[in-house]
Every structure is written in C-alpha cells, then in structure tokens.
Symmetry: C2
Subunit: 387 residues, 2 copies
C-alpha cells in the first residue's frame, strides 16, 4: 500500500520544516554539541505550582473520567469570569467551549462553519497550521500577503479585495505568530464590518492574549459579540502539553459546536481542566504577570542585539514571544541560513518558509522562550557566523 | 447569525441522544432522586495507582510541554513491546502513533485515507461517532445493517455486496460497541482479503481489546501487517479522561499521519503519556486482569437477570462492557422505554437509536460499568417497571 492510498488533501498539508531542523538539533546534542534553542514556540515556564497541584489533586481524587464535551461547567464559568474581571465584559459561560488546545478550537470552528470549497482568508506569514485546518474540511485557505506596512496584519481593504463569492470566513491572530504584531481595536472593527457586510464570519485567534508589552491587552469581543474567539491555556498560562484551550462563540453556534466536539473529541483532558480552573486565582495571575515582564525584558534584549547584527524589524513586535526578522541584508536564503546557523554555530531558529511563501526566504523567526543569558550566547554565535 | 452560517455537514452529524437523557438524569439526581447508571461508556475504575503516580511525577518534573506529535518515543516503544509480550508480534515502534484518544486516531485515519465522496463501510448498530469522523472529511459513511446471525459484525460477503467503486475503507470494531461481540480471526481474514482484493483498506478498532471473557484476546495485526489498528488507553487501561490512544499503521503511512497530527493536534497530553508509560508494568497488568474478571462477573450476573425480565440476547456478548438487549418482546419503542425507565424507576440506559437505525427501536444498551449490587438494584427497578 503506497501513494494511491493517501487522500489528496495530504498533498496540500505540509509538515513543519522546523521538525527536520529539530531532529538535526537533537542529533547534534546527542553528539555532545551545545545548541541554543530559539525556535521553540512554547514558554520555558511550566504551569505555576498551584495549577500543577490542582492537576495532581484531580488525579488523586479520580477526577479523570470523560467530562462534558464542552468542558466542566466550573471551568466555563471561570473563563467567563475572567472576561468580566480582565476586560469588563459579561459573557455567558454557556458561550465558552473548552477545547483540546486552541488546535481543537480551530478544528471545531472550521468543521461547523466551512463547507467544502468555501474560502477562508488569512495572512501570509501566519501560523502554519491555519491553512491545514481549512484543508482538513475541504475548504480553501486563501493566504493574503502582508508586510510591515500593515504590521503584518490584514486590513479591511485587503479583506475587501480578497473577498469572493466563495469566501466564508476571515481568520486573524492578535498578537500574531510569527510576527508578534497586534491588531488595533479600530483595525479589527473595520475588518469586522467588512466581513459582516459580506455575510461572512470573523475568527480571532487570541492564543497570545496577555503576552503584550506596551499596549493594553484587549479582546475582539469588545468590538462585537458575534465574533468567534479562540484562546488557549498553552502560552500565557504556560500549559502547552496539558492540551487545553477554549472558544467563545455566539450563542446560536454553541449547540452545533458541542455536537461536533462530542463526536470528534468526546472530552478534553480531565486533569488539565481541573488544573486550569486554578489558573485564574490571584496568586497565579501574579505569576503570569511576572512572566510577562520577563518576556518583555527578553524582547528588549534580543531585538536591538539582532538589529546590530543586521536583522531588521520594520514593524514593532508588540507581543507573543517571537521576533520575525527580515534578514534580506544578510542573505536571500533564510532556509539555508537556518541550517547553517544550526550546523555551524549551534543556534536553532525557524525559517520563514514555515509561515508561508510571502518573502519567506528573507525572514527567520526567533523565539525568546529562553533566558537572556542563553540568548546572549546565541546572539554571540550568530555574530560570529556573520563575521 | 443563524442557520445559514452552519456548514452543511452539521445536518448529518447528530448529537448523542443519550446526552439529553443524561441531562434529565442529572436533574432528577439534583432533585434528590436516586438513579442507577447503566448507560456509562467508561469503566468505573480509574487509572491504577502507579499510573496515576507516574502522571503526577511528570507534572512535578515539569514534563508538561508539547511532545512530538506522534508521541514520546518511550511510549511508542512500550506499546510496541506490549504487542510482543502479549501477542508475540514484532511491531516496529515507528509504526505506533500515539493519539488523543482513539477518537484522535479515527480523525487521523479518515483524514489521511478518505477523499471527499469516498465511502467507508461500517456496521449498524455501531459506535455512533464513526460515521461522523467520515462526514468530517466529506467522505460518505455507509452503514451495513447487521444482526445476531453474524454476531452483529460484517462478513466478507456483506463487504462484497456493499462495495462500490467509491468504497475506500471498511471499519470494524472487535469487541464492538454496543454489542460486545467479537470478530473471529477467520472472519477478519476473509474481510481483509475482500478489502485488499478490491484495493481498499481495513481499519480495525480494538479499543476494547483485553476486555474479552471466554475467547483469547487477539489483534488484527496477527492477520496481516497492512491493517490499520486503533486502540486506546480509555477502556482496558481505565484512562478515559486522560485522552490517550494509539494507531498502528503500515510503515508507508506513518509520515503522512505524523504530518496531519502535527497540524491538527500539535501534541497529545504530556502527563497522560508519562502516566500511560507505567501501564504496561506487571503490577498494573495484574490490576487490569482483576478488573477484567470483575467485568466478567458483572456480565454473568446481568445477562441472565435481564433475560428473565424478557430482554433477549440472540448473540453472545463476548467482550467490552455492554449488553445490547433486544427488547422487542417488551416494547416496540426503546427510545420511549429509556425515558420511562429513567423517569419512573430511575434507571439510565442508552436507547438503540444512538447506534444507528437498524432495528434501533427494538434495542437498548446496558453498560455494566457499575458494581453488581448497584446493578441488582437497577434490575429490581426494571422488573418493577414491567410488572
Ligand atoms: C497562532 C497560534 N494559534 C494556535 C496555536 C495552537 O496552540 P494550542 O493548540 O497549544 O493552543 C498556536 C501554537 O503555537 C499558535 O501559535
Ligand atoms: C468503539 C469505540 N471506538 C472509539 C471510542 C473512542 O474512545 P476514546 O477516544 O476515549 O479512545 C469509543 C468510546 O466509547 C468506542 O466505544
């Protein structure tokens, strides 16, 4: 059994290029070489102790069975309360659907919203999986090239231009991966208006919400109630491997999403849900705030250090923990550069190619998910490479 | 935003009917009524203490980040070793793909194998989600009515009859939900041959593997190497809410499955994987064996007790923890009966309707996932209802 047994969608679903790079990094490390990891898309902080303890307590109490497909009611309520406390928004907990990571949320939304052949607009560069969630349900991902002029974000005008009669949804992320840029409330409102005028839906990925360094954190739900919002315990809450996220959906969509979640997931991780319940308490929120400050320090270290070497950042990365560096004054082959940096200097970064095709060869993503000292070492190595 | 925004596939994806029944059961319990639960599709045993301890240790050690999409190598190896120790089969650990429950495995297989419009054959009655995994990727689920004559399983002849030029795969389960019946090695081999002759693939759901009471447990991999096998830590291993399962795939398919898993799941639960690693040690296997004996005792209590009342079991339920009772001599509306039993007597069961349309109104599913004493109480209540 070979090729002819593989569904055609798999021709359009690419693995992450960085995986191969990571495998190479592992080999090098196994052979005794030191590697500075600046490719990792997850915080180097685990869940705070109280969250971990809550997860363990759930295990001890045998709270490890299937839960309702939309999550335990307490957690849905805690998330709703979070919107009230943090953003002053009254969101009915019924509108919160707990998911296996925001990955699970993306699957549910595409499944419930997108018919085969319908188009979903998104940015290039953007989170690599986005287009594949659309492919999975036989939709058509449409990547719109974005650059520093618009902070690597879509604008209302771009949405208008790219819209066809087959367009059903627009997916944006703020702060975004790989660029760390944010959409302003006004920009988001304009996009929302265009989308709604045309009878489409707006999906906003807020998985990096809270990881923002100058501006005030805000949520798209502040712009309108009938926006689909994705979020996750992975990044701000430091719980990547627990696999937990959530959707906020307009009330009419909750039942269909529930129905699909019952069928394709049955349930999210029970220990993760009990653990996450603890994440909204003041002590944990204080820890997350400290971590945010730490990420900010790292960004403020890394950005000028890379600029000095010759990388440029024509748009300010306001959030997340990524710098999407324009390396065109250093190379016209960022893929080669990524391998070279790894093999010659032991620095792992993610090539632009993983995020799309729009000037991908002129970009590289640095993640500041490692401490300043280690990054300093990484920067030294990169400097040496270009010497 | 209402109906017109919902993707058409959702018209064909039904929620579980038992969910509404469960909500009603909860209301009754909240109002102080006692309910005997014989509808629950999960063991009343949690993970054994050493497994729970391993999960907690992983949390303590901060092993809670993303893992490789196909699972941590140690767990893939442990599962491969399990096939060697239990079934005398040499399976390369590379062929084991760890998934978020076998639900995740079903998604990956349909995604990698089924093109829009291609048909997947399955039994009616059968596990309700199966057809929806096919719908999700715009495939066409084809339910073949099965009855006690063939132990509620497909036969090679049925597959031959149902095959069209659009058929791509056959999905069987052994032991099966809701019937608890198993496919013999010979029956499976015959099906396999028909499927392969026609250029299709055979998928065998072995999630209830090990929960079998007279016959010897076996795996479809014993019949042929190019069968896709699904399994899970949910049932035999008592880890439903941890969300972990696995696929065994022919080597050629591992990379495409990995690619899809990277994109749609990123990673399985890390604590669950470290916990599950502990499940294959002798002490845990001894616990699972005791539990199997306990399930057997329960079946041997419940089956004759229900027969006495007038339910019949024209095919012997050999495994899993379900009895699929023919109630045609008692009612011709099992859906009504399920509600009546709940409302009048406080007994929760699952109506046949949840498992398909083939004589569904004449069947009801009992789960023996509660102890004999409690079931005895349930049986008394049912007896009273029919008096
Ligand atoms: C923009 C964006 N969305 C979604 C995800 C999915 O993460 P998770 O499934 O862990 O919530 C990621 C992960 O890196 C991401 O960067
Ligand atoms: C036959 C069958 N397959 C698959 C599943 C999915 O279970 P899980 O995702 O917990 O492995 C179930 C759950 O009840 C089942 O009965």
């Amino acid at each position: 059994m070979t090729e002819q047994y593989i569904a055609r969608r798999m021709e359009r679903i690419a693995p992450f290029y960085v995986m191969d790079l990571l495998a190479k990094a592992k080999q090098l490390e196994a052979a005794g070489r030191s590697v500075v990891h600046m490719e990792v898309g997850q915080p180097d902080f685990a869940a705070p102790a109280p969250v971990a303890a809550a997860g363990k307590a759930a295990i001890d109490a045998g709270k490890t069975g299937y839960t309702p497909a939309t999550g335990i009611p307490e957690l849905r309520q805690a998330i709703a309360d979070h919107y009230r406390d943090r953003f002053g928004l009254a969101i009915d907990s019924h509108r919160i659907i707990v998911t296996p990571g925001s990955s699970g949320g993306l699957q549910l939304l595409m499944g419930v919203l997108i018919n085969p052949g319908q188009e979903v607009l998104m940015t290039d560069p953007g989170y690599p999986c986005n287009k594949n969630f659309v492919e999975f349900v036989s939709g058509v991902p449409v990547s719109v090239p974005v650059g520093p002029e618009t902070d690597y974000q879509l604008t209302a005008e771009m949405v208008r231009q790219a819209w066809t009669e087959r367009t059903r949804a627009v997916l944006v992320a703020s702060p975004a991966n790989p660029t760390g840029t944010v959409l302003s409330r006004d920009a988001l409102r304009e996009i929302y208006q265009v989308v709604r005028e045309r009878g489409g839906v707006l999906i906003v990925d807020e998985i990096y919400q809270g990881l923002i360094y100058e501006l005030e954190a805000f949520t798209a739900l502040d712009v309108a109630d009938d926006i689909f919002v994705l979020n996750s315990f992975s990044k701000y809450f430091g719980m990547t491997g627990w696999r937990l996220g959530w959707i906020v959906a307009p009330p009419f969509f909750v039942d269909p999403i529930d129905c699909l979640a019952q069928n394709i997931f049955l349930s999210c991780s029970a220990p993760a849900q009990y653990a996450a319940l603890r994440a909204f308490s003041d002590d944990c929120l204080a820890i997350f705030e400290q971590r945010r400050q730490e990420f900010r320090r790292r960004r403020d270290f890394l950005l000028p250090a890379l600029q000095e070497i010759g990388f440029s950042f024509p748009a300010v990365p306001q959030g997340a923990f990524y710098l999407y560096a324009d390396c065109s004054s250093l190379t016209d082959d960022s893929f080669r550069l990524a391998y070279d940096l790894l093999e010659k200097e032991g620095v792992a970064v993610t090539p632009g190619k993983d995020f799309g095709t729009n000037r991908a060869a002129q970009h590289i993503r640095f993640a500041y998910t490692t401490d300043v000292e280690r990054m300093n070492d990484g920067v030294e190595r990169i400097r040496r490479y270009f010497r």
